[in-house]
């Protein structure tokens, strides 16, 4: 009995915690990015859009999304944080050239030069050096695949381009590099208010988005056919109206939310078979976010790589006990960087 209960306890511990779920939005958040080509070809131009949400109660300072005017290509071991050393070296070089009055490389973006000068301490606030907006363009180099070290065991040769952004409610500044951190995993940008105080996680998200490039392998973003609420399709512009919860039992206030993704989105993963010659497809899941309480699960599996469509993958929306309005976002991901999203308002009466 002891061993069994031990197992229960550990399982429960893995799933428990008094923390707010990832689905509950109360701060600046980025929910996803969508690339028009999840898998690009060398030389392609890929447009990436970020879904950023400002769910703070006090929005006196507006949230903005800024992109670093620079794309990191094929960092060491595909590590996103290995880009920072690459960026730092490039900025320092540009700044030094500018300082000494030496000619700059002909294709140097002005925004990058702006950051280079900032890296020399000439300016603190680099907001002006960044590209503002939810969309960003990544030009995948023509040699993206050939310049990437060969990875033994990969399904096909590939290249990697990474774009960085920060959703921030203030000004953006370069952060000093921590010389003691040999791993290199340090934040390069910080978010500051007008008084120069660094803002915390409620006010900013620093993130990145990857675009893998293949010569032959492609991937499409999953498709959201529709969202149903208690079995009825939702018109996203109209949303849903639900009564507030007056029962002490949450299950009395549950509403079934389901996102419909067609089988055609469940793409076969090329070359992916095991010794039993079983083939594997993509994994597809739906992540839920809400500004008004609450969903029973933060994410539900829609398609398992080998089992296919998962029965009973619908989520539950639990109405709050007080009236109010909110928004529910649903982001559908596949495990090959494909994504799609939708949202609808919820009116609790």
């Amino acid at each position: 009995m002891g061993r069994a209960f031990f197992m229960i306890v550990v399982i429960a511990a893995c799933n428990s915690g008094d923390f707010d779920p990832v689905s509950k939005l109360t701060s600046v958040r980025v929910l996803a990015t969508i690339a028009d080509e999840p898998f690009a070809k060398p030389g392609d131009t890929v447009t990436v859009e970020a879904l950023a949400v400002d769910a703070r109660a006090d929005r006196t300072r507006a949230m903005h999304v800024y992109w670093l005017p620079w794309v990191c290509n094929n960092p060491r071991a595909d590590l996103y944080y290995a880009c920072f050393a690459q960026l730092g070296a490039q900025l320092a070089h540009l700044g030094e050239l500018k300082q000494k009055g030496l000619p700059l490389p002909p294709d140097t973006p002005p925004a990058l030069l702006c950051l280079g000068l900032a890296s020399l301490g000439q300016t603190k606030d680099v907001t002006a050096c960044l590209q503002e907006g939810s969309k960003f363009t990544i030009n995948v180099p023509a040699n993206a695949v050939t310049s990437h070290p060969i990875v033994e065991g990969a399904a096909a040769p590939y290249g990697l381009s990474i774009g960085f952004y920060i959703a921030c409610t203030g000004g953006v500044r370069l952060l000093p590099v921590d010389p003691t951190n040999v791993s290199g995993q340090t934040l390069p940008l910080g978010c500051f208010d007008d008084s120069g105080a660094q803002l915390g996680p409620e006010d900013y998200v620093f993130g990145f988005t990857r675009v893998y490039a293949y010569d032959d392998i492609t991937n499409n973003n999953p498709v959201i056919d529709r969202v149903t609420f208690d079995g009825k399709p939702i018109v996203p512009s109209q949303g849903v109206i639900v009564p507030r919860c007056t029962s002490k039992n949450e299950s009395d206030c549950e509403h079934v939310v389901d996102v419909q993704v067609p089988d055609s989105s469940w793409e076969l993963v090329a070359g992916n078979s095991d010794s039993d010659t079983a083939t594997h497809h993509e994994e597809i899941w739906a992540a839920y976010f809400h500004t008004i309480d609450k969903t029973k699960s933060a994410g539900r599996i829609l398609f398992d790589p080998s089992a296919g469509r998962v029965d009973g993958s619908a989520n539950r929306f639990i109405a709050p006990s007080v009236a109010g309005n909110g928004v529910v976002w649903i982001v559908v991901h596949d495990n090959r960087d494909g994504a799609a999203w939708t949202s609808f308002p919820v009116y609790v009466q």
């Binding site: 009995m1 229960i8 929910l31 990969a154 993130g207 994994e283 992540a287 599996i301 090959r336």
Partner: protein, 879 residues
Amino acid sequence: MARGRLVSALAVGALLCARGAWAQDSPYGGGQGAAVTKPKDDPTPPAPAAPSITLPVLDKDDGAAYPDSALKDGVRETVKVTVVVVIDPEGNVIEATVPTPEGHGFDEAAIAASKTLHYKPATKNGQPIRAKFKHEYSFAPPPGRIIGKVAERATNKPIASATVTVKKDGVVVASAQTTETGAFAIPDLVFGNYRLEVSASGYLPIGADEDLAPGSEIAERLRLDTDKTTAPLPPTSAQRHDTPPGELEDVVVHGDRPPREVTKRTLEQRELLRIPGSNGDALRALQNLPGVARPPGLAGLLVVRGAAPQDTLIFVDGTPIPLVYHFGGLSSVIPTELLDRIDFYPGNFSAQYGRALGGIVDVAVRDPKTDKLHGLAQVDLIDVRLLSEGPIAAGWSFSVAGRRSWVDTWLKPVLEATGAGVTTAPVYYDYQAVLEKRWSKDQSFRLMFFGSDDCLDVLIKDSNATDPGIAGGISAHTGFFRLQGLYRHKLSPDTEVKLNAAVGSDFIDFTLGDVFFKVTTYPITGRVELSQKIAPGLIANVGMDMLESPYTVSARLPPLPRPGEPPAGPGLSRPPLEINLDSTLYRPGLYTEFEITPFKGTRLVPGVRLDYSKDTKTFDLAPRVVARQNIGPTFPRTTIKAGVGVFYQPPQPQETSTVFGQQGLLSNRALQYSVGGEREITKYLEISVEGFYKQLDHLVTPGHLNDGRGRVYGLETLIRYKPDAHFFGWIAYTLSRSERQDTPQDAVRLAAFDQTHILTILGSYRLGRGWEFGARFRLVSGNLFTPSTYGFYDANAGTYLAQRAYPPNGERLPLFHQLDLRVDKTWKFKAWQLGVYLDVQNIYNQGNVEGVSYNYNYTQRSYATGLPILPSLGIRGEF
């Protein structure tokens, strides 16, 4: 106990000549010119030597006790102590001194004895006077005795009327007949070396050499093999298991040589079954020994002297097995009921073992019983086990056993009721079948088929906030089986051959969402060892072992970060790597070792081992030496010991894979040093202390070949009370530190399994009437973890990635402490017995911290606690 003897005294006159000043100073007369006659032992009045003086006459002498300290010091000579005594006019000794001390407690014993002497006083002119003279005690080493019992090996039945003969230098000095209970006693034996020979009608005679220390007692349990010309059943080694509870004795097992290792710890049957908190599981009991860390949470791992779990090898009678525990360490893969003993070597092990940097665990399966058919059934809330054994035909015996978990049948509703995200439980089973042929005690053959299987299939419908790939279908299936043959033949008193061969299969089939890992291996293992006594005090062991293992691998996994390096993101953030491979692992080894006893009590074991690894195409030469030196007499024994050696461990197969590993690797290497001592306090109580230092280099680091290095050092202390009729227990304390440096450019960090303090106190006491009560208390440093803070957002996966502190493992969880209790009750009936046990873990419900939980973006953290108070109830019947 020895008695001192009064052998002489000096005449007062002579005394006066020698010590005239004293006589003049005497306030009791005997002044100048006085004459005193020599005192006598007999009461006959002395003849007057002078008209007015008579000598004192000894009339009371209780003798002197032989001092205990002389026994402990191993004094074997007759020692004489002269005491100068002063008697008053009443004949009482009023002063006693030893002018020439002899030490070892003799002086104190002589003085104490002399103060109890009484004399008829010396007289002068008829008046009693004070007198001073010398009195000598002679301390001869006291005799010892040999006692014991004689029983039949196969059945453990006492043998009456057996003749026990004691010879010294080939001459019979004493003999005795055993009683109805098989008991014998031979008292009053002068210390020295004896040859003990036992013979009985219908049995093969046996003999044993003993070194009897002064005043000591040797207790023997001698088991005779039946003479196969008169009895059909051959003997077995199941005697320890056959010993009924309550009759365990200190058994002197003849034929066991001192260990070849610096430290060899052996757990006996009763300890294996009764250690609280281990549910009677032998291999879990190992975790209470010095040098073994407490594994985190449900991890069924053996962490020995700060080494990674895969650095410690597990053998079953010399055959390596891949798994020790079923899922989550719920129970081990070999049931305790089948074990004879577990030998555990935490380091500096013999050259017969190779390919490991950590420790060695060698599990010995006991021989089947041969007296009649036996059976056992046990059930608790986790599993059900059955066992049957007995004789088949002349010289043949068998045992079969099996176990299956049944937690899956009742845990599912419990999990659903608790709202756990996982609503299924693992299923496991294991099985064993033994067939043994024993021609004589010197020749036997055993065939054993055994295996284990663990299976878990679950579908998780909720995606994981930190790694969405950890969801969907999860399937894990692991197992192994072996067909093993063991042959042992003692060709002559000086030559022994042991053969061990096994074939089987290991398999791992793991699928998690989009990734999978399927490995099947077909290991063929073998070992041959020849032991040859070359000369008195010199034994050579030569052997070879071999592992040839064809395998197939099919895997699709994300690339793994190297140690200390934060990952690139969740598992799906990088293109997975795939491999489909058929290959063969081939690792032969040769070793030789000499057991040298140049002097009594001194033992040197130099050895060398040569290993070859086909996958790395390297030879590893590993010289080792162990020294043990007994100090003092046979009992209580004090031993100092030390060892130094080189140890290699080839890279794991995945580390040399063209996809997941690196090419051009060498074996990991450790230089191990240890020094320590062992001391017997009583027949049951002993203390051992050992310091160790392991210098690690050539450690495989992903992406950096063999650039890793490290060191482990510490001190292990064990105070152990060996099982007697009522009690066993021990206090084990380990102080250690385990460090690693992944590359020369990286900071030195603590190894993942480093635990500074590990204290285990346990004991079990038989209360009588079938009741036994035990307790275990553990106090252990918390496990390490790497703190994480708010960092980055991976928009593709939709997860936050923490900033991880550098270097890794920089913070430690709070101290772990826990008390476990166990109560056993056994009812004995005429033909069978029934046992019930209650094993309660964490009796005071301490919320020990097993890990750290973070919220989704690493801005908050809390401790995850483990085991609450947990009772475990089991019932067991056997005949």
